[in-house]
Amino acid sequence: MTTSMTTSTTTSTTNSTTAKLLSYPLDAWYPTAWDHEITSKGIISRTIAGRPLALYRTQDGHPVALADACWHRLAPLSQGKLVGRDEIQCPYHGLRYNAAGRCTAMPAQETLNPSATVASYPVSERYRYVWVWLGDPTLADPALLPDMHQLESDEWAGDGETIHAPCNYQLVLDNLMDLTHEEFVHSSSIGQEELSESEFEVTHDENTVTVTRWMRNIDAPPFWLKNMRDKFPGFEGKVDRWQIIHYTFPSTICIDVGVAEAGTGAPGGDRSRGVNGYVMNTISPETDRSCHYFWAFMRNYRLESQLITTQLRNGVHGVFGEDEAMLQAQQAAIDANPDHEFYNLNIDMGGMWVRRLLERALEAEGRSIAAPAPAASSKA
């Protein structure tokens, strides 16, 4: 695995518009896991932004993220066990640490070495995820969490899954910031030719990028026709379709999607004759070439129907499986063609603004922008 040390010592003049793979900021909240994955029954191991973490929950229910390497000989603490009150015991020589990362027991001595600690990273639990802050802990303000309120709201229903995507996290952000690919990658479900024919608008500020696309008076693709009929049984006819992509630094993209009966005022704000979903995506870099891609699909109609929740989750699972295959193939091609650069198109506008915001954050942290090329990585 490539560590941040490798990244930070890489000298590079590459900027974000030419770097194919971006490094990741550390002064940021990243999701580690779904809330239900982290328990007080056991420890899970997960690498976020190049840092192996041991994740567990105290008996009071607070999530804990410790560096997954014992202070003594770096054995993975996640392979140890939870002991006493909220302590973790190294599987190798039994050193114990509390939730603050302080060693509480050392073998064969009556005292504790005063420098025996492992990092305990700030965590925050919100929107069904447990988030971690790996950078300067004094900057870890929960107010900086991205808005994903639909995941916790009574007005929305849905569920999601995690994809362990074998690619640099920026490729997933590129994928989500430009949905023209739906016509080609998802032709049987949500793809249609109007996606790449229609115009779109991009806006941004210091922390967000928004891409808005409307397709008026078109046939609904199969996925959306099914959703319309869930809400309006027997629906026939043309629809107005929207995709409003909301990116929030560093790696959360919530996409307001839907269709409404054509000409009933959806572009002006009246969505009452339509169906509305939110595709909630938040991505944690794992290594330079892998990431944890957490997604959910939320809807604001037929909230009581578990059938629809399950159908939508399974449907999106299929759609995102198509993305995952493409992202894996793209990463392999990037690594196989180290001397070839990306060319950029009009459709990359949203993704390019995301790259710009990430580039500025990396510069502010004094870190190099580009992820190392495969040769510089110790990853097999």
Binding site: A67, W71, N98, A100, G101, R102, C103, T104, Q109, E110, T111, L112, N113, P114, S115, T117, V118, A119, S120, P122, P137, T138, A140, G366
Partner: protein, 333 residues
């Protein structure tokens, strides 16, 4: 926040030196590889002592310009092993070899209350923590203890910056610190960070333990260079090896044994890891245990000692110049 021993050496220019208290000099360095320094971090410095390069550690007092400058502050010890003499000889324009900032004393963010306790030159490890806690708006007290006002670096600055969170206890002004009262007054879940002479730190450790406070909330750093007694020369013998070494007041017992060619094992050289412990076979005098590896029970037994920092002293304070030095007979692994 993780501890680090990644000692990459680099050059650093000495760009300013000035005295900030009696025998205390502030040294501003410009490292080749700037890096922000976190509170509690120190740098290792190659000091030239008797013509040899020796490693010494100094806390980073401040690191302006994101680590473009590193400020350290050095007390010239009366019984110096030579490092502080060397550091006091530095002049603007000289070049030193230093490491990047290393962390052995991390300040945890998020405790409900903090007490920062500095004794004398220990303020160098504590000042940066106080500055950070002030910036974060944390609940903290900064307690600064010394024998005399003249020996307190940065006293006026700290008083001005930290206002009513700051208190100074100056022995020769009748303001000695009441350790019992200090520890009794801490709210539950307080984290206490301290750096200073061993008498002060031991008193706090005992009181902390007596009150049943969480021992992991008592944080300290020791470079093992202050003892219960002044350093004095003594003799160490290893019968099995036929070795007898005279340990000077300016060197450690470990260094003296190494000089005599004894194959010694050691690592931290500040009394923490226990790797340099030797068995005491007999003792004429007493042992000045300066380590934090042994418990009080183990120290009281005098059956072994950490020879990197601990010393022997004559049994009674020397009353005549004819006082014989302490003699230690030991066995080594």
């Amino acid at each position: 926040m993780i501890t680090s021993r990644d000692d990459v050496w680099q050059k650093a220019d000495v760009i300013a030196v000035n005295d900030v208290a009696d025998r205390i000099r502030r040294i501003v360095l410009r490292p080749e590889l700037p890096r922000p320094a976190l509170p509690g971090e120190h740098i290792d410095v190659l000091a030239t002592v008797n013509g040899e390069q020796q490693v010494r550690s100094y806390s980073v007092v401040e690191a302006p310009e994101n680590g473009g400058h590193l400020v350290i502050t050095v007390f010239r010890t009366p019984d110096s092993r030579g490092g502080s003499e060397f550091m006091h000889s530095l002049e603007q324009g000289q070049v030193l070899r230093i490491t990047k900032p290393l962390q052995n004393f991390p300040l945890r963010v998020g405790a409900p209350y903090y007490v920062l306790l500095a004794g004398g030159i220990g303020i160098t490890a504590i000042a940066g923590m106080a500055a950070l806690l002030r910036r974060l708006g944390a609940h903290y007290r900064l307690v600064y203890v010394a024998r005399s006002r003249a020996a307190m670096a940065y006293l006026d600055d700290l008083a001005a910056v930290h206002g009513d969170r700051f208190e100074a206890h100056i022995d020769d002004e009748g303001g000695s610190l009441d350790v019992q009262a200090l520890v009794a007054g801490v709210p539950a879940h307080t984290e206490l960070y301290m750096c200073g002479p061993i008498r002060l730190m031991d008193a706090v450790r005992r009181t902390w333990a007596d009150r049943g406070l969480d021992r992991t909330s008592l944080r300290y750093e020791t470079f093992g260079n202050s003892g219960w007694f002044d350093a004095e020369p003594f003799v160490v013998r290893i019968p099995r090896l036929g070795v007898e070494a005279a340990v000077g007041s300016g060197e450690s017992m470990l260094e003296a044994l190494e000089r005599e060619g004894v194959d010694m094992m050691s690592d931290c050289r500040k009394g923490e890891c226990g790797l340099c412990q030797v068995k005491v076979l007999s003792l004429a005098g007493r042992i000045d245990h300066r380590d934090v590896f042994y418990s009080d029970r183990q120290k009281a037994s005098d059956s072994s000692m950490c020879c990197c920092v601990s010393r022997a002293v004559a049994a009674a304070p020397p009353t005549t110049s004819g006082e014989r030095p302490a003699v230690l007979t030991i066995e080594v692994p």
